[in-house]
């Protein structure tokens, strides 16, 4: 449980630190008027772009908490004696490369938005999604191979955790692909680049995050 407690405490510490930056030490009963903070003075309404990005980051913290709890459980269960690690399927290296390529492709799309080059956006965005789909297919193939080799889900806790963690990671990527498909339809329908900016940037951030998450999980699986 150390891992998750450390994570929770650091998230809360960051939150409190950020609160302090937001002047939680202010004495509101002494302050009247609108523009007590110069940053606040110009604020009217809010930006849906910033709000969307913020929600994505908060969501990624939630997912991190979810996976760290699994890692904590993994760690505790591992030391209970009946743990027989899986062989490390070499195909996972290939899959990792696929996911990394997907991440790079979306980064290209993001750059395309910045440079206003439609061809770059189209190639990167569609490529990123298709590579992610390929990653999912390849993961399923690994599942099938392992299943045929006799590594059943219920056979050993190491197997159970392997299927569980890869499955959940895939489910989160699938959720990302749902958002991606909305953007892809709009992109192919010829929507202006500016209107796709939030979608492209969010997808690229989320893909990078899922790559990072996968690298963490992969390292855990290789290490144990």
């Amino acid at each position: 449980m150390n891992i998750i407690v450390l994570f929770m405490v650091s998230v809360m510490a960051i939150f409190v630190w950020w609160m302090i930056l937001q002047r939680v030490t202010a004495k509101p009963w002494l302050e009247q008027g609108v523009a007590i903070d110069p940053r606040e003075a110009t604020a009217t309404g809010y930006s849906s772009y910033v709000a969307g990005k913020l929600a994505l980051w908060v969501f990624m913290v939630v997912i991190t908490s979810l996976f760290l709890l699994f890692v904590t459980a993994y760690h505790m269960r591992m030391h209970l004696g009946d743990w027989h690690p899986l062989p490390d399927p070499g195909a996972l290296w290939f899959n990792t490369a696929l996911l990394a390529a997907a991440s790079i492709a979306l980064q290209v799309a993001r750059r395309g938005i910045k440079q206003r080059r439609a061809s770059l956006v189209r190639a990167g965005y569609l490529g990123g999604g298709i590579l992610a789909l390929a990653f999912l297919a390849a993961q399923l193939w690994v599942w099938q191979q392992l299943g045929e080799a006799g590594y059943r889900v219920a056979g050993n806790p190491a197997n159970s955790f392997f299927y569980l963690l890869t499955g959940l990671h895939g489910a989160h990527l699938l959720g990302g692909l749902l958002v991606w498909s909305v953007g892809a339809v709009r992109l192919l329908g010829g929507a202006p680049l500016g209107s796709l900016r939030l979608n492209v940037e969010s997808c690229s951030v989320y893909w990078h995050y899922l790559l990072l998450l996968w690298l963490g999980l992969f390292a855990l699986l290789l290490h144990t």
Partner: protein
Amino acid sequence: MEQVAIADEVYEHHEPKSFVTRYIWSQDHKVIAVQYGLTAIAVGLVALVLSGMMRLQLGFPHSFSFISPSAYYQFVTMHGMIMVIYLLTALLLGGFGNYLIPLMIGARDMVFPYLNMLSYWVYLLSVVVLMASFFVPGGSTGAGWTLYPPQAILPGTPGTDWGIILMLVSLGIFIVAFTMGGLNYVTTVLQARTRGMTLMRMPLTVWGIFVATILGLLAFPALFVSALMMLLDHTLGTSFFMPALLSQGEILDHEGGSPILFQHLFWFFGHPEVYIVALPAFGIVSDLISVHARKNIFGYRMMVWALLAIGVLSFVVWAHHMYVSGMHPYFGFFFAATTLLIAVPTAIKVYNWVLTLWRGDIHLTVPMLFAIGFIFTFVNGGLTGLFLGNVVVDLPLSDTYFVVGHFHMVMGVSPILVLFGAIYHWFPKITGRMLDETLGKWHFWLTFLGTYAIYLPMHYLGILGIPRRYYANLSTDFIPASAQDMNVGITIAALFVAVVQILFLVNLVRSLRRGKKADPNPWRATSLEWQTPETPPAHGNWGPQLPVVYRWAYDYSVPGASRDFIPQNEPDGDGAESREAQP
């Protein structure tokens, strides 16, 4: 960067026209809040009936043929789970969070209205799945609300065929709904505050809901993890939590799993859950007390800091639920220390509520009665928490009625008193009608005194050593016969309090049609939700212009002002003496 003032766009373009888009598939936070609220209250009434049946069995054992031991355990389980998750969490965050956040911070709606709508419908789905478990073969699960494995999924426990599966699935769905709602609340508080509404000018209600939402977003994944892994243990035969064991003469396929692992994960969610329920209640009660005592909240900054401190500490106390599961003595020491430490910020809050009342101009309105009732009940429940937080005292008291009395006082009755107070307080804004004052006062006194008649005696039963969760306590030597008399008394009180709630329901329905027309600001409160151009607020809340905030939410009885309150959106303070000039 497109700096769209999207809030104003919404106001112009998305006014719903038909009945269906206005009241059913609505994206308006106020309608969603009412949907959440009504669903939660409905499911809460089911849980109330279940508790009545439990009490019938305990008060008059073997008198009711329909309450078999299995049925009793199913009632216990469903009562606990519904009350904690589907009523309290949903009503405080989904209901009041949805209604109050945008209105109190001066926004037109949540930042993601569509996601907000989805959140409600997914929540409703989780409720439907849970209710369905009453009707499947074998009935709902009877594993106790903590669902401890291995018994939760072994034959012999009621509802292991379908009930437990539906319970775990329903929890998963609920967590998805909560995450959608929670992302919305956090983003809205951080992004959609109107001009001049700094974080430190927000009413404490918003603070409480905000911090509780963050706790929920971080803690609910632990419940998700434990529910998912138990589901796999049950359906696919994995051994995350299931040790090798012999069940009804058969050796099961499981081996090596750890039930203690489940307990860690469950309580890693379970303890923050207490504060997910408590913090919004703390926030709401602060505002009720301040408004109805016509006095600014004592120690506003301390109140905010205490909320944050409680939030952080709530993640390092979970194992105090596991003292009897066994642990290294140093761990017990650690968790006892953190548990008692949490009493410090909590006590700060209690002192500040009392000091706000001190020399205030106290109006004993119905919301105020409930708020003061909360302070009593919460202090009572909190003090018995000090007993249970200590390892040596907890060991003999664990799994007795002392624990039942404690947690019902502190996280059952207390937040429900706040919820009643909040409904009496905000009903005029939500519906445009006042609730009946006389009925409300009867409702308060009978509920408040009645709950003491239920839960105070339970502490004595606990000290006698009467175990909780037992179907019947007959023919046990160490339990004196008089304990059964007390049980009869508790049952009568419980049924009485349950019936009294009809007063509340009648009041709600009657006032909706025939209540006194409400003034836009009947309590003369300062916070923004009372300053809307229309009551109840129209779609978009604020008319053409968003309000601008010039002051904090607690300018009551300001010396020199012509009225005893100055709304947050009032620029000049109406002749109040300039307080900046003071040292």
